[in-house]
């Protein structure tokens, strides 16, 4: 038997493959996760033109690219995965998987992989698109943007698992991600850069989970973050991610409520 024993990587790959097939068959998720984040940045364009962002040391590109990445994280990863986790839980797929050899962390990671990969590819595509279409310069501090993007992907997947715990049915999973999405659009610098907000409001918004992610992405391009600002953002992003992962381990709901 040992010759055919399964490995964590093999098990996660199998789950990811199944989940990718399912993503391809779920038209609603496909539209929301794949096309919306690619289309939305164009709608922000006209609003940005009216914001006089240049006064705050920003350009159209450094507003729209973080916005696009924020949309991608929230639609393709956060909202889509909330639906995936709820649906699999309600179909008792998660419970059934737990009777087998797959470990809990592997179940969540494997199931999340297609959505996270979609989000990552979208972000890369959007970066390339914005660079070409908006004539953006190369990022000043690419490592900050990379840290922001990677923590953002993990954080959104973990937040999706947490939101799934508060969601009873697959239908309500269309609604339950909305609060965090709206708060993030407005308060985390996705649609409105924090630089444009009054200082007091901005300092509160800096504590929101997605704010450091967007700040790091924007800062990676503008190079305007001081060392301490960058460090604060990295620490906040990592802290939120760690907290969310801990909360998932502690409170994730594997079975429907009785």
């Amino acid at each position: 038997m040992s010759t055919t024993a399964t490995t964590p990587a093999g098990r996660m790959a199998a789950l990811a493959r199944a989940e990718l097939t399912l993503l391809g068959r779920s038209r609603g998720t496909l539209v929301a996760a794949v096309f919306v984040p690619l289309a939305l940045p164009f709608s922000v364009r006209s609003a940005v033109d009216g914001m006089e962002v240049e006064k705050h040391g920003l350009s159209v590109g450094t507003v729209i690219l973080p916005a696009a990445i924020g949309f991608s994280l929230l639609f393709a990863v956060y909202a889509a995965l909330t639906g995936v986790f709820v649906t699999r839980r309600e179909e008792l797929v998660l419970k059934r998987l737990r009777t087998g050899e797959v470990r809990d962390a592997e179940i969540l990671t494997g199931s999340a992989l297609p959505a996270v990969t979609t989000g990552l590819l979208q972000c890369l595509l959007l970066t390339a698109g914005c660079t070409v279409l908006l004539d953006m310069p190369a990022p000043h501090a690419p490592h900050l943007a990379v840290v922001g993007l990677l923590t953002g992907l993990v954080l959104c997947a973990a937040l999706a698992a947490l939101t799934a715990g508060l969601t009873r049915t697959a239908e309500s999973a269309q609604v339950t991600p909305m609060p965090l999405m709206l708060v993030s659009f407005i308060g985390s610098g996705v649609t409105v850069p924090l630089e444009v907000l009054p200082d007091q409001l901005a300092s509160v918004c800096e504590l929101l989970p997605l704010t450091p992610v967007i700040t790091l992405v924007r800062g990676g391009w503008t190079g305007a973050l001081s060392a301490s600002e960058a460090l604060t953002s990295v620490v906040t992003a990592v802290a939120w991610t760690g907290l969310a992962v801990f909360a998932v381990r502690r409170w994730f709901r594997w079975e429907p409520r009785r």
């Binding site: 399964t6 199998a14 789950l15 797959v102």
Partner: protein, 318 residues
């Protein structure tokens, strides 16, 4: 791994499970299952069957007592137990939009020693490999579930109501398969509320009632503890008092409904002989005559009634 034929593969001691609201679903049960044995947990809905099996499968941590499967704690020592067990939950567990073949492929990649070839044919689903799970009938889904539980040739198989939703033929096929597995050395623990299923399959069984074991043993032992039954119609012009004295017949209990008499006895042969000798002597015909040993179903109903009465008495006394 011991090769002793009497090795206990599943051992349960004083097992308890309490749900969030304080409901005690499993109230201190104990039993053990030997290698190569089919053991059935019987009970009405809510008796604690699934709550118990989930603890054996390692899906939840017991609130008291101990479970050992193949010598390990199935909850804390998951990695050691899971590659050697196969599980079929009471329902569902597969994404509805995947096809049967895709589901099989996914599950095989998550199962050590999986043998996907022939797995569907084994349960009669070979022609359905391209069908989406959501388009399968309830019975077909049960069979897919069974096929996946068997993929890794497990040493221990947990089947939670394996034939619910199957037609008579599907049920027989599943029984045959389970017997063949047992004959090949697989240990099977199944729950069912079909008493004839337990009677047909189980080497030993336990009847659960309100979270406790109300009776346990081989099907023959469990039924032997229950009285046999004789029923007939009183001939015209005869009354119950015209029969030989009931205690002389070995009857422990009786009831009448219209002209029908029902006697219960623990000595069926003696009671039957004396009754028939009396009828012959009196020259009467006992219409609708029916004599039978207790079936598991009667045993089950009797035990459930006794247990309920006992727990009511206890509550009054408290």
């Amino acid at each position: 791994m011991g090769t002793n034929g009497h090795e206990h593969v599943i051992e349960v001691t004083d097992l308890r499970r309490v749900y969030g609201g304080g409901f005690e679903a499993v109230r201190g049960i104990g039993f053990s299952v030997r290698r190569g044995e089919i053991f059935a947990l019987l009970g009405t809905n809510g008796a604690g069957k699934t709550s118990t099996v989930e603890l054996l499968e390692g899906l939840a941590r017991p609130d008291g007592g101990r479970v050992r499967v193949l010598g390990h704690d199935p909850y804390t020592d998951r990695a050691a137990v899971r590659p050697r067990t196969g599980v079929m939950l009471q329902e569902g567990g597969f994404p509805s939009e995947l096809t049967v073949a895709e589901t099989l492929r996914m599950w095989a990649a998550c199962t050590s020693g999986a043998r996907p070839q022939g797995a569907l044919a084994r349960v009669g689903l070979a022609s359905k490999d391209g069908t989406r799970v959501k388009q399968l009938s309830g019975g077909e889904r049960r069979r897919l579930d069974l096929a996946l539980a068997l993929l890794g040739e497990p040493e221990v198989l947990f089947l939670d109501e394996p034939t619910t939703g199957l037609d008579a033929e599907g049920r027989r096929d599943t029984w045959e398969l389970v017997r063949a597995l047992r004959d090949g050395g697989t240990t099977v623990l199944l729950t069912t509320h079909y008493l004839e299923e337990a009677e047909a399959l189980a080497d030993r069984l336990a009847i659960l009632h309100e979270g406790r074991i109300a009776a346990a043993g081989t099907p023959a032992e469990v039924t032997a503890a229950q009285p046999s039954r004789i029923s007939f119609e009183l001939p015209a012009g005869y009354f119950l008092g015209d029969l030989p004295p009931l205690d002389e017949l070995g009857v422990c209990d009786h009831e009448t409904a219209g002209r029908t008499v029902r006697l219960r006895t623990r000595e069926l042969q003696r009671a039957a002989t004396r009754l028939l000798v009396w009828a012959d002597g009196a020259g009467v015909e006992l219409r609708g005559l029916d004599m039978r040993s207790a079936s598991l179903e009667e045993a089950f109903l009797g035990i459930a009634q006794e247990a309920s009465a006992a727990s009511r008495t206890k509550e009054y006394a408290a």
